[in-house]
Symmetry: C2
Subunit: 220 residues, 2 copies
DNA sequence: GTCTATATGTTGATAGAC
DNA sequence: GTCTATCAACATATAGAC
């Protein structure tokens, strides 16, 4: 009775078209090439098999290193996960705090832009985003709380936008909490199925979802 | 360096309001009380901590049993997970294959009903549904393939409904694949946040999401 | 059917050479 | 910084008593 199910080699994971995303662009330039490569390897492993099913050996093998090498660059496996999830949440928050969102004169334009950008970010970085959404239970309680705080900041930006549109009558009357949650669900859930070699670019999907979001709140 | 993060006792999990759902109703009556209780305990553990972070001890403790007792009722931990995910997928498929969906004369009614029922099922059984959505990587390749087949059957029912509405001009012209996926995302993603002690009953949320789905495909 | 005890293998992390 | 070797802890699953 082997404890682990059949697995893929690091090379197979790296070549899997479903696991292609732009994660290498996310890591801080302050990190060296090796730690950045380890984060990218970890993203693929965590996305494919889950945090707890991934061993430190798996992560290190992705860079052709021995398991001990990981601990030169990261103090623990949990901190590799935390770094990935923290950076992911910080980057997507930056991406929706863009002037085209914050300074939008028209509320409908603001909603269109924030939905489009949030969707496109999740699509472009869908493997990392999948880890950010699905592996939160691997974090310690302290790290989990910090991530929840970042999520609140992002969610508040969406909620404000919906609330503003209802208040200025750009949008129909609606339960703001319910509508905001529905929009976030739409944008986030794509991490389960999106692939970069599919029919839609991240921006095309973003525009499509922005259109759906506007229909959700359209005045009749 | 403890390998496992701080955990909750089985009693704490059973009392957590976020982990209340109707999972005990799902298990076959052919099973005895103990195996059904083990499945319910496992659902809570898998939803709270993930499949791989859950030990056979955790599951058994939830029923006040020793770890060895689990193996009298299930041949392996993976088969506990498979049973949960298989039953979840079969039940939701049954639930959307209801006469009110299959025999609907009006396509808009059919879409309203299928979205409403699919949403309400996921809300009512959100803890089980969370395991069904988030723990697929814990399955063996063979079991995974069987679940994907069940998912296709459900998805096809939604896709047919959207396609019929576009063909009979109940709905606006649209990319059927894209629109269907968006609707499924909306209904499924609620497993990440829904709780039974929140402001909306499963049926209220179902009706709300059905309204959103109809707006997505409304003719202008 | 449930228990205690344990076999067997794996895992996260460290020690110490180079 | 990377390696080999290894530890202590833990997990799944089984054996055998009751």
């Amino acid at each position: 009775m082997p404890r682990r199910q059949a697995r893929f080699t690091p090379d197979e994971l790296a070549a899997d078209p479903r696991l292609q995303d732009h994660s290498p662009e996310l890591w801080s330039a302050d990190l060296g090439e090796v730690p950045r490569g380890l984060l990218t390897s970890a993203v693929r492993c965590f996305a494919a098999n889950g945090f707890h099913a991934t061993t430190t050996r798996d992560i290190a093998e992705g860079m052709g290193l021995s398991p001990a090498a990981l601990y030169v660059h990261f103090p623990s496996k949990e901190l590799v996960l935390y770094e990935i999830i923290r950076v992911g949440h910080e980057r997507v928050l930056e991406y929706v705090r863009h002037p085209s969102v914050l300074d939008a004169a028209d509320t409908a334009d603001r909603l269109r832009t924030i939905i489009s950008r949030y969707t496109a970010w999740h699509a472009r970085h869908h493997v990392t985003a999948r880890v950010c959404q699905m592996e939160l239970t691997g974090l310690t309680a302290e790290h989990y709380d910090q991530i929840i705080e970042l999520r609140h900041q992002t969610n508040d930006l969406f909620r404000e936008t919906v609330a503003r549109g209802v208040a200025d009558e750009s949008f129909a009357q609606a339960n703001i909490t319910q509508v905001t949650r529905a929009m976030l669900s739409l944008c986030i859930d794509l991490v389960r199925w999106y692939r970069l070699d599919g029919p839609d670019t991240p921006e095309q999907l973003g525009d499509f979802y922005a259109g759906l979001a506007l229909k959700m709140v359209a005045r009749t």
